[in-house]
Amino acid sequence: MLQTNLCGINLRNPTILASGILGVTKESIDRIGKNGAGAVTLKSLCHEERLGNKNPTMFGYGNIFLNAVGLPGQGIDNALKDFKTLDDLSVPVIGSIYGYKIEQFGEVAKKMSRLKPAMIEVDISCPHMDYGKPYYADAALTAEITGVVKKNSGNIPVSVKLSPNVYDIKEIAHAAERAGADAITAINTAVGMVIDINVRKPVLANKIGGISGPALKPIAVRCVYEIYEDVKIPIIGTGGVTYGKDAIEMIMAGATAVGIGTGIYYRGINVFKKICDEMLIWMKKNKIRSLEDIRGCAHE
């Protein structure tokens, strides 16, 4: 009932580990697969090794979760040696990539392709990267990066991960689609800050961070809803999905699959199985046989 086809990849269910949570090692993504995820996304890798920001880099606060890890990663060259291949796990793997300059996106995509991921996700939207120009907020730059990555990814489908921190997300999604993107991942975190009033300083070492968790969900649902009206390619709806009802809501907005990241913080590694079980209960109760029957139904 939950089987999902995402750009020709058969997922046993629509839940996908979102990039940035636990996906540092091959053994951890395998473990996420064993805990029920339909697919898993690696933590983003670029052309070089990065240490990321100092701690605190993340904390939870009621229904919000704030992070500014600063894109730490071993770099694609170390990852090639560490992972060897990504097609030998029990779950499809999505390789998340980024660069500083546009041509570096292509370089990293080319190397990532050698690891044979089921899909490549292009992270143009991390709120903590100082790109000079924010790629995620410019339709022309988004299109250019999408084109470069597509050219270097062979037959591997490419999804472009968008930011909610833009004036018009539809325009950006449309640009990615026109440039050849096979899917859209929406959304990355929204930008925020928490100040500790006792020490009179922002809690995050980076001061500003990305908001995720249940508080992000209405923003994500709105973005997915808007993008669905404007593009034909599938959407991986990501942002605040914590319970089965959230996944259903995201699919009603138009998502083909749902990304889950911070949900692990709230409900543990087996959040994927919990969400799938809750979706099945809801579907049975509402006599829904296939997710196709409700996909995008909020638009009708």
Binding site: L22, L51, P56, G60, Y61, N63, I264
Partner: protein, 276 residues
């Protein structure tokens, strides 16, 4: 104690912003080693840790080394930028604390506790919870030995690399002697340099005695999300930091490899030089 301090069970409401606390007492434990005491109650089990925040500097995990009705403490050794900044703090200064996090040691009698250096801090509340454990406390030299006078048990044995206190040599040599002479010992709990713990595990395997070791890896979150503290498929902050014989024997990275802040897998030696 603030009620929010303890991690809440409710699935979607969790508060893990550091609580700002005043250092009520600073105790020098050895060379470059201090304990900070706090007059706050904390509900924790032996072997659990807290995240210690120095605003605008960094945040690191620290074992809870004293815990009673009056409050709790953690003990650190100066090794890098963060611990140097800690070292500069005084009584009444304020720092941020969140936690406790992680699992805990099994509390089983007829236990032998083996600690190397500041690793003693991670097993100290376990010792407090046991009736009369064997304690093997080792360090580089007398001046680096912590808690030398803390335990009144007659079964406390000391080892120093230079022989300046207790036996000259390694804790593992004493462990072999103790296990040979005392067939009642059922479990060995250990914390210290990973090479030492690996040796402790091998000895326990040979004597067919259960072993539990508290491991250290670079951490950012402390609650199983960031994925930095992985050792094989285990997440040290939530699956550990305490692991049992079966888990330790299955870990191909134990005693050999660790991951840098970037996630790159390197030898333990390279990991430690990058962190000091």
């Amino acid at each position: 104690m603030n009620k929010n301090f303890k991690m809440q069970c409710c699935e979607t409401i969790r508060n893990e912003i550091p609580q700002i606390m005043e250092i009520s007492e600073v105790v020098s434990e050895g060379k470059g080693q201090k304990s900070f005491f706090f007059k706050h109650r904390i509900s924790c089990k032996p072997g659990q840790f807290i995240m210690v925040w120095l605003p605008a500097i960094d945040e690191k995990p620290m074992a809870i080394s004293y815990n009673n009705k009056k409050g709790f403490a953690f003990t650190f050794q100066v090794i890098g930028e963060f611990t140097r900044a800690l070292d500069a703090l005084k009584k009444n200064d304020k720092i941020g604390i969140r936690g406790p996090y992680g699992n805990s040691f099994s509390i089983k009698e007829n236990a032998c506790v083996v600690a190397g250096g500041v690793g003693m801090a991670s097993v100290s509340t376990l010792i407090d919870a046991l009736k009369n454990p064997w304690i093997i406390n080792g360090a580089r030299s007398k001046e680096h030995l912590i808690y030398a006078k803390r335990y009144k048990s007659k079964n406390v044995l000391f080892a120093t690399d230079d022989g300046s206190y207790g036996k000259k040599g390694f804790t593992t040599e004493i462990l072999e002697e103790v296990l040979s002479k005392n067939k009642k010992i059922r479990i060995v709990c250990t914390c210290g340099p990973e090479i030492m713990m690996k040796k402790v595990l091998e000895i326990c395997n040979r004597f067919k005695i259960e072993c539990e070791a508290s491991l250290e890896r670079f951490m950012a979150c402390g609650f199983g999300v960031c994925g930095k503290c992985m050792i094989n498929d285990k997440i040290v902050c939530i699956d550990g930091p305490v692991f049992n014989s079966k888990q330790l024997n299955e870990m191909t990275e134990f005693g050999k490899f660790a991951r840098l802040k970037s996630g790159k897998k390197v030898s333990l030696g390279e990991y430690h030089s990058a962190h000091s």
